[in-house]
Amino acid sequence: MKRVVVALLLALASVAASAEEFTAVQVDKSSIAFVSRQMGVPVNGRFGKFSAQIRFDPAKPETGSVVVDIAVASIDAGSAEANDAVAGKDWFDAAAFPGARFATTAIRPLGGNRYEALGKLTIKGRTRDVAAPFTFASRGSVGNAEGTLVIKRADFGIGQGVWADFDTVANEVEIKFRLQAEASAAHK
């Protein structure tokens, strides 16, 4: 009985503390897009399929976590011929590495509505530490996290062989993410 009471109290305490914890991701209102540069030309692309698990309380960002899983085969690299090419071995090798993942190791506040997600980004079987600054805004029970981070495609072996030099396709790729989540009903 005592243990039940303690558990209840703990549960209540966590409910009170995380009244604004956003957890239910609305994938259809979220997006993971990127901008690559070809001959100095910015080309917009996006990933059509991904899922995300989020726990984020803007008042207590340190306790939050984000895991995003991306189906790399769902890439739209900006044109039909690019889409045919990028699933191949020189690019994402989607057959061998179907998933890319970003998992936070820490989220820290940067002041105001700005935060930074530190985490591990894994693409094509290679993991790198990345820092993704983002802003968070909520309206009612819906919260939006939006941010960008710049990665170097060579760190992940994306674009090898004839594509390895950066004359035509730049090394830097800007990833733009927008994740929308609802404050989960269970915590209200």
Binding site: M39, G40, V41, P42, V43, G78, S79, T168, V169
Partner: protein
Amino acid sequence: MNGARYTSTAISLHWLMAVLIIGAFCVGLYMADLPLSPMKLKIFSWHKWTGITIFLLVFFRIAWRAWHRPPPLPPAMPRWMQVAAHAGHAALYVLMIVLPISGWLMSSAKGFQTVYFGVLPIPDLLPKNKELGDSLLLVHQILAWTMATVVAGHAAAALKHHFVDRDDVLTRMSPRHSTLKEKTP
């Protein structure tokens, strides 16, 4: 023979643009069906940069022409032939403007902004739209072949003037002749 010549600026513009237009046409033909490769991306960019250069130069050329009237056609030319010559030149000027514009619009519709020399972004006039992009490709191709036809007619007419009529219509646009003549006096 009236001996009047084009200005050396007009002659330089004429031959520079001849090289650019013929080059852009040949590169355009070659690149259309290339498989995706870094070279293809480079060639497409070069083609677009050439098109913008032609587009910019033609306005300078038109302005120059407005201030420096070209020498008149030989009076011996029949009236219909003079009309045809002027119509041909007008068509070339129109094509030098609309052909690059069609390429620019196509590039925008296909989702690739044009960035002059990889540095200067040219605004996209159209949003990305695959069907529109394909239609504009067809427009661009038709205009390019029209240009090729008019250029071929233009060159054939110039050669006819030189070798058949034996007048000065070709030589007054000839760069070598101009330097010779300018040095002589």
